[in-house]
């Protein structure tokens, strides 16, 4: 729930402080010190929401050291500031930019094959990684005290993201290659063309739309344009 009160200026600040509350209450029974530590955690914070668990684990570890007197100078503020931007970029590119499209590509393949359980495929592929990493990173952050090197050494986000993107592209290519065999609702009404011609036509249309998107088109504009084309085709009697 780190983003329950997400705002433009403070982003996940309240969420992070809220997540720290149980640990802070245990570590600082004294009301004034607790208030001061809550205030410290109410400073600006924003990162990728799943990777926040690494910083959370590390912050608890540093607060523990500070409260017990083992490490009175623990720089929780510095650790948070140093990690949040880097982990934000890493997490965004892995979870949103690679894992999610891969899970979607796999689920779409299942759906177009005519099977209803595509949403389950999506949820399982995504959440095995998501939940697993979220829990593991909390403990890794705690054990390492926020040592980013240990994180990068234990899990190569960049390499895995690149491989997942490649797999997604290959799956999407495969889906286009099977265009004539898509489930009935999406089968194109082109009776005279053979299956290979339909598949190649689908690939060409897709690549044409990629070009339009690269030229500054947006999905919304292209949706509208596609609808206009469909209406024109229908009135020309092509449908």
């Amino acid at each position: 729930m780190i983003q329950a009160s997400w705002s433009f200026d403070r982003m996940q600040t309240l969420g992070f402080a809220y997540a720290m509350l149980p640990a802070l209450r245990r570590l600082y029974p004294n009301g004034d010190e607790l208030t001061s530590r809550i205030n410290l955690h109410l400073e600006y914070f924003n990162t990728q929401p799943y990777l926040a668990s690494f910083i959370l684990g590390a912050a608890v570890r540093l607060e523990e050291g500070r409260a017990s007197g083992r490490n009175r100078d623990a720089d929780v503020r510095g650790m948070k500031a140093a990690l949040m931007a880097a982990l934000g970029a890493l997490g965004d590119s892995f979870f949103w930019g690679a894992l999610k499209p891969f899970a979607v590509a796999a689920a779409v393949a299942v759906f177009l094959a005519g099977l209803w359980w595509a949403p389950l495929v999506f949820l399982v592929i995504y959440n095995i990684w998501h939940v697993g990493l979220r829990v593991w990173l909390l403990f890794l952050g705690y054990e390492s005290g926020g040592d980013a090197v240990s994180l990068v050494a234990a899990f190569n986000f960049t390499k895995l993201a690149r491989n997942l993107k490649i797999m997604s592209l290959s799956l999407l290519g495969g889906i286009l290659g099977m265009l004539p065999l898509w489930r009935a609702e999406f089968r194109l009404p082109v009776p005279v063309a053979g299956p290979f011609a339909i598949a190649v036509g689908g690939l060409a249309a897709t690549l044409g739309m990629v070009l339009l998107l690269r030229a500054g088109g947006t999905p919304a504009k292209l949706m509208f344009g596609l609808a206009v084309v469909c209406v024109v085709l229908a009135f020309l009697g092509a449908v």
Partner: protein
């Protein structure tokens, strides 16, 4: 036939409630992806008695909007509201007729909804700025209580945003679907074709973000593999996908080994 009978009004309220709860997963709580169109669409459809319509809408919207990523302060289109709304309009608005044209029409209408959802999200995120001031501990008060109250009230704010949007936009959508049903048959046919072509646009949106090349090599490898094994040898759909994915994985590992 009346557009808004008691059952339809009840369904609108139910969809608004369920949509509001599902929408929390998008930003405020969990992010287990239940709010993604591919899940939210079929869930809404199942609730209204037609999961297949929800699945079709969810798959299409998921492909189109999956790469619209919330990075930094950028607020992407709320694909959860689009999926739940379009499914509800398509199921309640088709009323026993052939569903595909209404599905296409409701998907087209989501284009008009995008700015509204983005503005509403922007407004809520500005509103939440007030919560920060309300969260700061004051002397003499049980430390952390104000923070908990302020933070958790954000959940109610996010819920209310979606709930109100559904209550306002769903009746408008149903009126539009009713008017659509009176249009000539050619319009209905054009919307069926629209649904069939939208996955191509969705795939294009994903490819555009995943690769810097228009005709990416891995996309073409997957295409050729599937066309060869699937169309020429008539292998099963999922088997073809598995072969394409495995071949790519082996290729990636080989390349890694060489470098």
């Amino acid at each position: 036939m009346a557009i808004f009978d008691t059952k339809t009004l009840t369904d609108i309220i139910l969809v608004a409630l369920a949509g509001g709860i599902i929408g929390l997963d998008r930003t405020a709580a969990g992010q287990f992806m239940f709010s993604q169109p591919i899940v939210a669409g079929p869930l809404t459809g199942w609730m209204l008695g037609d999961a297949t319509t929800g699945l079709i809408i969810g798959i299409v919207l998921e492909l189109i909007w999956v790469m619209d990523i919330p990075v930094g302060t950028f607020v992407p289109a709320d694909s959860t509201i689009l999926a739940v709304w379009a499914t509800a309009v398509a199921v309640l608005g088709s009323a026993g007729r052939e569903p595909l044209p209404v599905i296409g029409f409701s998907l087209l209408l989501t284009v008009a909804l995008i700015p509204a959802t983005m503005r509403a999200d922007g407004f809520i995120r500005k509103w939440n700025s007030r919560l920060a001031a309300a969260a700061e501990p004051t002397p003499g008060e049980h430390a952390g209580r104000r923070l908990s109250r302020a933070h958790l009230s954000g959940i109610a704010v996010f819920f209310l945003k979606s709930f109100v949007l559904y209550l306002v936009l769903l009746p408008l959508g149903l009126i539009a679907a009713h008017l659509f049903s009176g249009l000539p048959m050619r319009f209905q046919g054009s919307m069926s074709l629209f649904v069939k072509l939208l996955p191509l646009l969705g795939i294009a949106s994903v490819v555009r973000r995943l690769s810097i090349k228009t005709a990416d090599g891995f996309l073409l490898i997957g295409f050729v593999t599937a066309a060869t094994i699937g169309l020429a040898l008539r292998a099963g759909f999922l088997l073809v996908m598995l072969v394409a994915a495995t071949a790519t994985w082996v290729g990636v590992k080989y390349r890694e080994g060489r470098s």
